[in-house]
Symmetry: C2
Subunit: 202 residues, 2 copies
């Protein structure tokens, strides 16, 4: 991370991350900030830490969907909640994100796959979302999935998860500014404030 | 709840609730809104729902303290974190809050007991916090604890918890505006916006 940059750690599969990926480019342009998109496996870390926010918690889950719907509207995003959760192809979705970011088609792919999830109810990493979102960024599904399944990508995914673990990250999205962690889409303003002032200001 | 009012459901013992109780009167005056302070047992509900946010989660807990410290500074509040957690006298602290609100000394008592917790590291509901915070609002500890331990107060505490349960409340603080739940000190702006516009606006 260098000056004017925020590390954006996320997993496709996190629900609130929809709000972050879908508005991050606009926020970056408006704030004059660069975000480094860092996919990792929040699922691996949450399992290690016995951190189970929604499974078998119907009341809290119901609130989560409502909260996301209200906040999506605030950001001008569609959200036909609830959507299928948790993802069946969580790791493939995130390895594709990692591959795409390295090859230059990552951001629009991630945003497109989230849009199909939250607007059309199609899970990222599975058909029909997979082919449609990859086609949208000019990628063939068979080739992209083959490349995303190579040892090299798997190792980079594990290394990213290990880096996140060492930083103390336990949830998605997490914004990191000079060693300070800001967890949750709702902490993006705090992260921007920290980058600018080294403290929270309104 | 009537027009211009927000129900403020909380438990003394919730960490983030420090940020809410300590600034709520200022927010009410600035926004021209009345908050109905409603103590309940978030602990009872969280146990029923197997909702364990921090126990045995050192990484997430560490983040929580840091997040509270940063946000306390934003609101001009002291917070010498971490503080003793969880509270040993959780129920007494909340029955005293309920009694005090009925008798007219509740709000300053709650704010004072939270201040001693977060600034001096003294748990609400136990000595020396108990006597000092009660004295600050003109109450004798023996008398107040006796009244807070009567069946009538215990029943009202259970009834409030049941009311919260039926509303779908699962955490503290929760702001309720016309049936819409807003969970967390960081959703206070959302609650105010909902009261004013029936939607989130910035």
């Amino acid at each position: 991370m260098s000056e004017g940059e925020i590390d954006f750690w996320f997993s496709t599969g996190s629900t609130y991350t929809y709000l972050a990926v879908s508005r991050l480019d606009k926020v970056a342009a408006r704030a004059g900030v660069r975000f480094n998109w860092r996919p990792f496996s929040v699922r691996a870390i949450m399992r290690e830490q016995n951190n189970i926010p929604f499974a078998n918690k119907p009341i809290k889950s119901q609130y989560m969907w409502r909260d996301i719907a209200r906040r999506a509207a605030l950001y001008g995003l569609e959200a036909r909640v609830p959507v299928p959760y948790p993802l069946q192809e969580f790791d493939l979705a995130n390895r594709l994100a990692l591959l795409g970011l390295a090859e230059g088609w990552g951001k629009p792919y991630i945003v497109a796959s989230y849009r199909r999830w939250f607007v059309d109810g199609q899970e990222p990493g599975r058909e029909p979302n997979l082919s449609a979102s990859l086609a949208e960024v000019g990628q063939k599904v068979t080739d992209a999935v083959e490349r995303a399944s190579r040892d090299e990508v798997i190792k980079r995914y594990e290394a990213a998860t290990d880096e996140a673990r060492k930083l103390g990250i336990f949830g998605s999205p997490t914004f990191v500014v000079g060693g300070e962690l800001f967890w949750g889409d709702d902490r993006l303003d705090d992260a921007l404030s920290w980058l600018r002032h080294g403290s929270l200001k309104r």
